[in-house]
């Protein structure tokens, strides 16, 4: 008995003791080295930590190549290190991943003028503190750095409603995901839709945006309908759940009342 008791206590100690020393996520040699430096060599890491790339696990080597596991060879061209592109090459640099955006951008006024200093990716999205593609990126302050806001404002106005729909669907999917509903497939569809829609913006062609918006909104309504169907099922569950809870409370109260009669009887 004592041996069993001691074993249980030892085991209890092990299972009860949760510590705060979670394994730290291993950082790449790029981050380790640049973090220890100062000035412009350290800034990219600080900026990157705030970026959408960092949030999605895209690290230095995802864009710049090289070997993130080897200090000596991290920046070797033999390991695919590219380094920083020149101004006009940035669209091709980013376009290796953002293929659709690259195509639309290349056909736009921005893309056509890139050799002459036209806006490229990092002008709007930043180089290392890469901002998420959101409608707020189109604003008078930023666009007016290069040209008048008028046309950009028109494009923004054409996109606002669809963007709000996308935001609303995203919030609903997050809510359902938190309830254990499998949203992967719908999220994948929304991801594709959002990327196609944002690619469309990069054409900087207000008529094109307007003409294709209906199609996107139709797709979004289909997704919204799917979410509504799931919500209906969840609402039904709550009705059944409410009935079960009410029944149990009723059963409990009735049992208590019956108990009172027994108690009286036992008192005699």
């Amino acid at each position: 008995m004592i041996r069993l008791f001691v074993s249980v206590i030892v085991f209890s100690l092990l299972v009860l003791a949760a510590v705060d020393s979670a394994l730290a996520q291993e950082e790449t040699v790029c981050i380790q080295c640049h973090t220890g430096q100062s000035g412009s060599l350290a800034t990219p890491v600080e900026e990157w930590r705030q970026s959408i790339h960092a949030a999605n696990g895209v690290s230095c080597h995802g864009c710049h190549g090289g070997d993130p596991t080897d200090f000596a060879m991290a920046m070797s061209p033999d390991r695919g290190f590219i380094g920083a592109p020149d101004y006009a090459s940035v669209p091709d640099f980013c376009g290796r991943c953002h293929v659709g955006v690259r195509q639309n951008y290349g056909e736009s006024a921005h893309g056509q003028a890139v050799e002459d200093g036209g806006a490229q990716c990092v002008v709007c999205h930043n180089a290392h503190a890469v901002k998420k593609a959101e409608i707020s990126l189109i604003n008078e302050e930023d666009c007016s750095r290069c040209h008048e806001y008028g046309r950009a404002g028109e494009i923004k106005a054409a996109m606002v409603e669809t963007e709000q729909m996308i935001g609303s669907v995203e919030q609903n999917l997050d809510r359902l995901h938190q309830l254990g509903i499998a949203t992967d497939q719908i999220e994948g569809g929304l991801f594709d839709l959002r990327n196609r829609y944002h690619s469309l913006f990069h054409s900087v062609d207000v008529e094109k945006v307007r003409s294709e918006t209906d199609g996107f909104q139709g797709e979004l309504q289909e997704i919204t309908q799917g979410i509504s169907d799931i919500d209906s099922q969840l609402a039904q569950r709550k009705i059944w759940g409410g009935a079960a809870v009410a029944l149990l409370l009723f059963g409990g109260i009735v049992s208590m009342l019956i108990r009172r009669t027994y108690h009286d009887e036992a008192g005699h």
Partner: protein
């Protein structure tokens, strides 16, 4: 109809079932001042049965393999008819059981029902509580989510603080240097077979102890007087008591109904109360989710380890505390059971609860 009577008579003549039922139901008398806290045992039995039933149903579809575990749980939640209900009942039920176990333990402590001759009842109950914690921990890993993976990593990592054998112990618990397929395999085996078997035996022993020693009289009311227990075995009789059936069973039923109503209210209206976001992401050994915390009932231990300058001191203090609780009936041996006649005990009891709650809240927000 006649053949039914013949069958019953056949069994009755050979086994005397009516007598057993009479002795354990209608002629089994309980103290007249028995209160609602005594029903927690029946509540716990019901909850354990629900866990057992839902666990078996989950077992039909669950796949204990890192490559498929998360998807199988997702399938249970989304495709299997009423799978979401079985899984939510099982996961929320684990938390409700811990709540009921803690309440049961605290009520027994308050009424000092652990005292002689019920030391073994207390000890088996204390082991059941710890086994329930272990079942929660092993079950936590099975969905193979980010939460599962990292909470298990953190919890098993604690064993590394033990001098000399710490590292080997961590490897033994995990089946390797990291939480991996081997960890899932051994946690699965323990969760669905080893521990339920031990739990069943312990619950049986606990009930046997309760039945043999008799239900302790609540230490309240003007008629209550503390008494020394004799050196020989004595079943505590209550000749003027109330019958277990139907008088007390109906009270058990009422409290079980209220407890289940509370349980189902969470299942249907706040199902994600015990599930943080990381519970719905598949395990990724290369990405540590931010702010990973143990379940609420381990928060006190988690925070206690952070308070002390070294983990080994923290572990030692927790070990001493748990040992003290386990051995309480052998330390607190006086005959007096009335809480208000035991000011030192009452102060420690109240401070202990406040400390548990306070440290847990601190751990949650730290």
């Amino acid at each position: 109809m006649n053949w039914k009577k013949q069958v019953i008579d056949f069994i009755e003549t050979r086994l005397g079932i009516r007598d057993i039922l009479e002795q354990n139901l209608t002629k089994y008398l309980l103290p007249r001042n028995i209160n609602a806290w005594y029903t927690l045992g029946a509540v716990l039995l019901t909850l354990f049965m629900i866990q057992f039933a839902t666990g078996i149903l989950l077992l039909i579809y669950y796949v204990p393999n890192p490559a498929e575990a998360f998807q199988s749980v997702e399938r249970i939640m989304n495709e299997v008819p009423f799978g979401w209900l079985m899984r939510t009942l099982h996961a929320v039920g684990a938390n409700i059981i811990i709540i009921a176990l803690l309440l049961h333990m605290l009520s027994v402590m308050f009424m000092a029902s652990y005292k002689r001759p019920r030391e073994l009842t207390w000890l088996s109950g204390f082991i059941i509580l710890n086994l329930a914690f272990a079942l929660c921990l092993t079950g936590y890993l099975l969905p193979w989510s980010q939460l599962s993976f990292w909470a298990t990593t953190v919890a098993t990592d604690a064993a590394g603080a033990i001098p000399l054998i710490g590292d080997d112990l961590v490897r033994f618990l995990r089946g390797g240097s990291m939480v991996n397929e081997a960890t899932l395999g051994r946690f699965f085996a323990l969760h669905v077979m080893g521990m339920p078997l031990m739990l069943g035996l312990l619950i049986g022993f606990h009930l046997f102890c309760v039945r043999r020693a008799g239900i302790s009289r609540a230490p309240f009311g003007p008629d209550y007087q503390p008494r020394e227990h004799p050196d020989h075995f004595e079943h505590e009789e209550h000749h003027d008591g109330i019958p277990f059936f139907p008088n007390y069973v109906i009270k058990d039923t009422a409290v079980i109904c209220f407890f289940l109503a509370f349980f189902l209210a969470i299942v249907f209206f706040a199902p994600n109360l015990f599930f943080p976001e990381s519970a719905f992401e598949p395990a990724d050994p290369f990405v540590t989710p931010p702010g990973i915390k143990p379940e609420w009932y381990f928060l006190w231990a988690y925070q206690a380890l952070k308070i002390f300058p070294s983990e080994i001191i923290g572990l030692g203090v927790q070990g001493a505390f748990m040992t003290f609780l386990a051995l309480l009936p052998f330390i607190d041996r006086g005959a007096e059971r009335r809480p208000f006649k035991r000011p030192l005990f009452l102060t420690c009891y109240a401070l202990g609860i406040l400390l548990f709650v306070g440290i847990s809240i601190w751990g949650h927000y730290s």
